[in-house]
Structure formats: C-alpha cells, structure tokens
Symmetry: C2
Subunit: 443 residues, 2 copies
C-alpha cells in the first residue's frame, strides 16, 4: 500500500529524509517549499516525488493538501510548527517535527489525543538523537543496578577536520540566524554538583567546559537552554548534575563572547549609519576608547587579549573597512549575520561534522564511575551533510515506525518510548551512526 | 470658572501636583487610584478633591468619568498611557503625561489633531525639565551666535547627602521595578566626538562618565536609551556629541554592573528553588567556581575586586543567608527587587534628591567653550519628595497653561514650544527650582 507523506520545508536539512522516502517504492512524498524545484532536479523523472504549490497562510489550500496525505512532516522553522499543528488538528493528520516542544505545541496535547493523532517532536539530532541515545545509555546502566548521579550531554554542528580552515573552527552548516541568536532565549538553567546554576547571556560563553576528545580534537561546550526541564524525561530528578549543552571548536566561545559582550548580537534595536559602514566602522561603534582599532581592542580587553581572539577578529575582517555592508540600517545581529555569512561560508568542497558527547556519572557496587558515549558523523558533500543525515533520518524513521505500526501513540510527544527509540537507533546504526562508549577513569 | 481635572494614578510622584490643584479655588481634582484614600486624608473636608471608583478596564466607566472633566492627567505606569489615550480620543479630552512618547502614542497623533486634542507627554523631570532647560540653554547660546558641537545631559533621582547611608549611595525614591530593569529596553545609542556609539546592556554600566560636582559630591552617569532620537528636538543634527544619561552616586555603576553581568536583573526566565533561598544561596546560583562565597567572588572578579564592591555586596546581605526570600520561584529580577526593597528602603526621616546636569560644548568668536548648567532639588519629606516636585509640577503647570489659554496645540507633543517651556520654567523658578550656570575652562 502506498503511503503518502506531506513535507513542509525541503531545505538544507531535508536531503536525507527526502532521499529515504524517494528510494522506496511504497512512498509518495509531496513537498511544500518555494525552493523545492532544485530538489526535484536531483530525481529526474521520479513520479513518487512531487512539489505542491501551497500557501501556508491559506487554510483551505493547506487542509486540501493535508487531506490527500497520510501524515505530515514539518521541517519549517520551529516558530511555524504551532500553525502547522493546528492545521493538522483540523485535517486530522499526525505531525512529525525535529523541533523543541513549545508551550503552544504542548497546549494542543488534549485535542490531539482526543482525535487519536500523534504530534511527535524533538526527533531530529539535538533534540532527538541526544534524547534517544541518552535514554538507551541510562536504561542500560540502570538495568545493571547503577545509580545515576550526573549527566552531561553536548552536541555540535561543526566542520570536518579537512574543511576546518579558520581560527573559529566554524562555518555555517546550519541556519545562520539561529547561530547568531543562540542563547538569547533566556537564562541557561542547569544543576551542577547539587547546586542550581543560572547563566545569563553574558555568562553562557564564559562559563564553558573544555573537552579533549583525542583524535577528534579539542572542543568547548556552552550550556543550552533549560537543562532542568529534561530531568523528568531522563528520570534524573535526584541527580546532582544535569547539563545539556552545545559543542564548538576550541577558542570559539571566547571569540563569540567578545562579540556578545559588545552587543554585536543584539537583535532588538535597529541602528542607523549615515552610509553603509565598513566592517571596522561597525565594530568601532561598539568599542569604547580612542586611537586605532588595535589600540581600542587592547584597551577594552586589557589582560584578556589572546592571540586566538586577535586572529579570529582578523579572519572576520574587523580591523579594516575592506568589507562594506550592504545595509545602512538594521539590528546589530543583522549586520553581524551579513558579515559572518560572507566569512563563514561553506565552500563547495567543504564537509560538515556532527559531534555528540554524553558523560554519565554513576555509583555501582560502591564505586563512582563515569562512562562517556560519543558520536561523530562527517558529511558526504554540501547536499548530503552530516546535519541533514542526523536531523532528517530520525524524523524519517519515526514516521516510518508510525506508518508501519511499529510504534503507536497519540497526543504531543517526544521520542521517550523505548519501542520508538530502539527502532530509530537500530535503523541509524545500519547507516553507520553508532556511538562509541568507554569508561573514564577517576583520579 | 471651575476647571475639572481627572487624574489617573495618585501615588508617590503625584503629591505636589495634587497639592498644586487642591490649593487653588478654581480647580476640582478627581483621582482614580485604588490607594487614593490616603491622599484624601491629607486634605480633610476639602470638597474640591475627590476619589472616583473607576475600573480602567471598563470603558463605559472610564468614558463616563472623562466626560465630566475638562482634562485628563495620567501618572500611571508608562505602559498604560496608550490605553488612557485611546479613551481620551473617544471622550474627546486632552491628556498630559510625564512619560516618553511610545510608538503607540505617536500613532495617535493624526486622530488627536483631527479632534483638536492635545496629548502632551515628556513633561515631568526626565523627560521633561531636562528637555525644557536644555532647549532654553541652547536657544540662549544660539542667539549669541554660538555653534553647538556637543551636548551632554544627565539626571538622577538620588538620596540627599544627610540620608546617604550606604555604599551604593542609593535608596528607592522611585519605582523599584524601573530601577531594576533600567537599560534593558535595547541598546543605548549616542554620538561622541563624531562617532556613533551603541552600548549593549553589558556595556552601559561600564562605559560611564564621572562627574565631580564639588560641594554636591561625586557622581557617575550611564547612557540612557536612544540619545540620537533627540537630536532633532534639540536642533543638534550636526553636533559631534549627543549623550543623554542617568546620574548615580560614585561607585554605583560598578556595583550594579556586577549584578547585571551575573544575570541577577534578568526578567524573562522564571527560576525555581526547592525552598525559599537565602540571599547568599540566590547569588551563588549565578556564580561560577567553588569554595566559600568570598572565594567564588574573588575567583569571578579576579583583579577587578574592589573594596567598594565588597562593601556593596555586604550591604545587600549577599554573603550569608540571613535574608530569606519570601518566594521560591520568580525571575531573577523579581528576587533581586525583593531584596533591594528591603535593603534600599527609604527610612521615615530620609530625604531624596534630584540632580540634573547639562554640559554644552560650543564655538563662539573663534573659541571653543563649555558651559555647565546644573540643578539640585532636595526633598521635603517622604511625601513631598524632590521627585514628586520635579515630576509633578511641570505636569501641573503644563495643564494649567493649556487650561488658561497660555498655550495651545493639538496632536501628540513634547514640551518643545518656547511658549510652553518658558511658562513652565518661570513657574518652577518661583518654586526655587533654578539652574546654576557656569563656564568650564578648557585646558
């Protein structure tokens, strides 16, 4: 029997998901995306992949399209999911997303349940694979009799070593706007050694953890959103430590913190220049002091001046006005994003990389132990990226499990049911997406 | 002929305004304020002062009350003014406020004009007396042929020297919430020596100016909101420097910056403790590091540790848990406000103080000169404060000038018309609210 899937958003992150359904005879995949033409071009003559012209603000069009399909997947920006979910309630279709459950999404739980619909969220990479792999790891430890005392989990969408050519160790493999606005959604909340910890935006990129992952390189992790909210999902209400975070290459955080502290990532205030400014002119308008740019930066930083920061600023062209902005007005974040999209552009031959790391502290047989579980995925090319693979495939496998009856539920969910995550992790391991585990010795 | 005035909000800042109207036979003043009873008690048996029971969310009640009066004054929190202004449009009454013109208020300009109504705003202290005194000063200089090159203006609601008993040199003489959330409304914007400057919340309390005002003491000024927006009001489009700011006592800004940097003023995220925390426990949850509170603070501050900061934190009781919060949950700003209201409470005998300072750089007869104009007002007691006098009297005089025909206009305005500000400044000088001017010598 042919299953019909309606996909909203067929951009960068969707390539593997699309490919998964296209490669199988029993699926028909319809895409709603103004830029979907280029996806069609990858599969010439394939009649099981089609592009629908649907204006998502026209409810009649959306409902008509939904009614002709068995299931909806949305890879649109997270803010659009409540809208799509409301359409799904009307059209009585289940919905799958890789985004965090918002308050608004959560509020639809009862209605979804009453209609027997599943609204499955957080089934991508982070959130997604992180939840599922952590739950499996914690389950296994608990079955052995371990008492979990601490949980750390970090994920990063990074650049493969062979493409790592700048002192930020970063290029955009993901929505640049999300990167520029990262950590602006409120305090990061976590618990460490029994103490609640709240990190303001000023502190997030300063209070970081450093990880030396041997062959994989050196990384830094900054705290991500509200880790405390995930204690119940992981059954870690009593754990002394609970931290979820984002992984970046070495020195990234101190460089980014420089931009944050000066206000270059601020996105509420529209500033105006008399003419389109140069890069140095833009930076200067945020820097106190007098003299040359070098002198201003030295005065501002004092003893905190580092070689890595100096070369990071040079890489962004912030010492001179060679880079000219295309705008005179905008929020600082909009100016910064324009510059970064130029300087952190993924080149044609570049490959991306995903790194995920869990560390779990536990007591077993009177001993204190730590296990580390880690995953690295390197992208194939600019279309078939590690990001698209690790975000899209869990979503695809979740939808598959639901359609073939391997998993059933109704209401608003995240993938915390062993029946679902075991299925998805099993499928991912066949794709080579496998975690390495090892014990870390205690001093 | 008796003039009837409807006043929304009869709190702390309204005492002088109420007294002004009550002392004159030809006014009837009606107050809408749930706590208005205590104001009535100050004027026993006075039939020209009355309290109305009006629910401002019930339009019928509000419109009925407005229709029985000649003019409306609002001393409610600024966020309520658009609501009151819309009622005024319906009831066809003019409105006077001491608050900044919001975008929403500005959008009512055409309708107010078409109905011949005046919506006069920014006619308090800051904004208010600052605009009017600066305009008079600039006008006078320009008439002498001066070319203005720089303008600095700072205002502070402070504590009188005889009541200045803590290392912050500050107590609450004004809405505590506004003090805790100061500078959180977006980047501060200014121009200094020809260069645009944008200050993020992280930078505002660091990039400060110091003022030694001799007998009046030492002060610090931090940049306030968007100074650039006031260039056209002051005719300073071409000036090299344009800065408006807030004045605080010496060392206040570095102490406050410590709280800001750690996130203690954050007002978006609700945090939860297992029990009502003590003051030290609250601070600790924002501090990195290990060891005692002293050690954590030393580690965090490094070389930036100062005696003034240490004594400021001690004054707030942040080194121990003697102070217990009355709440388990709330935003950091809500926790902080609770503590500060306890520690920065105005005592019965305390007097407040207003200090305002303008500095103007100008060229005249081939010379570069600077004139300083400054004002100090010390409060009478806890009811008749300097704040209430300098906020309320300009508002009262503006309403008086409008009612007696000395000033007429329609639409949304600030007091930039010489006919109005000359009138108000003249009335204020009779109250002893007089600026001192002197030339500052250039090196």
């Amino acid at each position: 029997m042919q299953r019909k899937i309606l996909l909203f958003g067929a951009g960068k992150s969707a390539s593997y998901l699309i490919d998964f359904f296209v490669q199988q005879e029993n699926y028909l995949l319809s895409m709603v995306d103004p830029a979907g033409e280029q996806v069609l071009n990858r599969y010439p003559g394939n009649e099981r992949l089609q592009l629908l012209e649907v204006n998502i603000n026209e409810s009649a069009q959306v409902l008509e399209a939904m009614k002709q399909h068995d299931l909806v997947i949305s890879m649109l920006p997270a803010a659009m999911h409540p809208l799509i979910a409301r359409y799904c309630l009307q059209a009585e279709k289940s919905l799958f997303t890789a985004s965090y459950v918002s308050e608004e999404m959560r509020s639809l739980d009862a209605e979804a349940k009453s209609k027997g619909l599943l609204f499955m969220n957080e089934v991508g990479l982070d959130p997604g694979i992180d939840h599922m792999s952590a739950l499996l790891l914690l389950d296994t430890l608990r079955k052995d009799g371990a008492k979990i005392t601490g949980f750390y989990s970090y994920t990063g969408g990074l650049i493969a070593p062979e493409s790592d050519t700048n002192p930020w160790h970063y290029k955009f493999t993901w929505n640049p706007r999300n990167v520029v606005l990262a950590a602006q959604g409120g305090l990061a909340q976590l618990k460490e050694n029994g103490r609640y910890r709240f990190l303001s935006y000023n502190q997030v990129f300063r209070q970081i953890k450093q990880f030396d992952l041997g062959d994989w390189g050196r990384f830094e992790g900054y705290a991500n959103r509200d880790s405390l909210a995930y204690r119940s999902l992981y059954g870690l209400e009593d754990a002394e430590t609970m931290i979820r975070g984002t992984l970046r290459g070495e020195h990234f955080c101190s460089g980014w913190d420089f931009l944050v502290q000066l206000g270059l990532t601020e996105n509420h205030t529209v500033i105006h220049f008399d003419q389109e400014p140069g890069a140095a002119e833009f930076l200067e308008s945020f820097l106190p002091g007098h003299g040359s740019m070098q002198e201003k930066i030295q005065t501002y930083l004092g003893d905190n001046t580092t070689n890595s920061l100096m070369s990071q600023l040079a890489q962004l062209g912030l010492y001179d006005n060679q880079y000219r902005f295309k705008r005179k007005s905008g929020t600082p974040a909009e100016f910064l994003q324009e510059l970064l999209e130029d300087k952190w552009k993924l080149e044609a031959h570049d490959k991306d990389m995903i790194v995920m790391l869990h560390r779990v502290n536990y007591h077993l047989n009177g001993k204190t132990r730590t296990v580390e579980s880690r995953l690295r995925v390197i992208g194939h090319d600019q279309t078939f990226t590690a990001m698209a693979q690790t975000v899209g495939l869990p979503l695809a496998y979740a939808a598959e499990a639901y359609l073939n009856g391997a998993y059933h539920a109704s209401g608003v969910h995240v993938p915390n049911d062993p029946a679902l995550y075991a299925y998805i992790l099993q499928r991912l391991s066949s794709d080579g997406i496998v975690f390495e585990e090892h014990e870390i010795s205690h001093l």
